[in-house]
């Protein structure tokens, strides 16, 4: 089973990397970019019987830092 974990910074947490990329997009002449936030995509291949609780525990314990990040678990259709 393929799983995608989308990790993103919580609203309100400053994203210096996103801000720098925003400036770069402005510099390239792309008008109308209002905000840039950079996150992380983690793709897992797991046993088909892996439970949601296990996936959540993986995110809580390691894959995301819930002090600053949110995560979303997406099961990819085979």
């Amino acid at each position: 089973m393929k799983i995608r974990i989308h990790v993103s910074l919580k609203p309100g947490v400053l994203d210096p990397q996103g801000r720098a990329v925003h400036h770069a997009l402005d510099g390239l002449g792309f008008a109308g970019v209002e905000d840039v936030r950079i996150g992380r995509l983690i793709e897992l291949t797991v046993a088909d019987d892996t439970g949601d609780a296990d996936l959540e525990a993986m995110c809580e314990k390691l894959l995301a830092n819930t002090v600053i990040e949110n995560y979303r678990i997406e099961k990819v259709a085979p």
Binding site: V13, L14, P16, L63, N65, I68
Partner: protein, 225 residues
């Protein structure tokens, strides 16, 4: 002053030797070196140091992998028992990732790696590590980091300040840290995480010895405990 200290080395630690040398130069006793994969700490430790570096290549997030290494379960248990723990730079990142200190260290606001000597002020002179210093006293200590931007939510920051758990602040905020925070303590004041490197300021040849004060204070406080 006898001190039974341990310095933990993770794959990618690069200040572990400096930390051991600093501790030995102050205490006169060579610290025990511990490897991240060890499942036990030496017995009867007085002090544990988590050094700076780039453990696990900063994969995932700085300190995240090291925080889940076997030895950290033991470090957490020792901290729980009241054994003083000092985490410097990557060691501070490991302590926050392990949940032994609140908040997180994010990418510097400037996006740049910074490597220079900065001025700190002592925010809490009553901790194990700062006793003997004065509130507002300035220390000059080097920083060298890419992810030193301390973040915690407003409630946590208020609690840290209200409880005297901010140990050090930057005089000039060099990395975007909330409320200029350079180092914080846990609830019992026995775990200190700080981004600046006191072990790089223990010998006159380093250009300053202000870092030495922190080790001396801790060791003196432990001797009288």
């Amino acid at each position: 002053m006898s001190l039974r200290a341990a310095v933990v080395t993770f794959p990618g630690s690069n200040c572990d030797r400096d930390m051991a040398v600093a501790l030995e130069s102050v205490s006169g006793e060579q610290p025990i070196r511990v490897w991240h994969g060890d499942s036990a700490l030496p017995e009867r430790l007085d002090f544990i140091a988590l050094p700076g570096g780039f453990s696990y290549g900063d994969y995932l997030r700085s300190g995240a992998m090291a925080a889940n290494s076997p030895i950290m379960r033991e470090v957490a248990a020792a901290a729980q028992r009241g054994v003083p723990v000092l985490g410097v730079c990557n060691g501070f990142q490991v302590l926050t990732e392990a949940g032994l200190l609140p908040g997180a260290l994010m990418r510097n606001a400037s996006q740049h790696f910074i490597c220079r000597t900065v001025d700190l002020t002592v925010a809490n002179p009553d901790s194990l590590f700062t006793r003997g210093l004065e509130a507002g006293q300035r220390l000059r200590i080097p920083v060298a980091h890419h992810d030193g931007n301390y973040f915690a939510d407003e409630t946590t920051l208020d609690r840290l300040e209200g409880d005297g758990r901010v140990a050090f602040r930057y005089v000039e905020n060099c990395n975007g840290s909330r409320r200029d925070i350079a180092g914080i303590l846990n609830e019992t004041g026995t775990v200190l995480g700080m981004m600046p490197h006191p072990e790089r300021a223990v010998d006159a040849a380093h250009g300053g010895t202000d870092g030495r004060r922190i080790f001396e204070n801790a060791i003196r406080a432990l001797a009288h405990a």
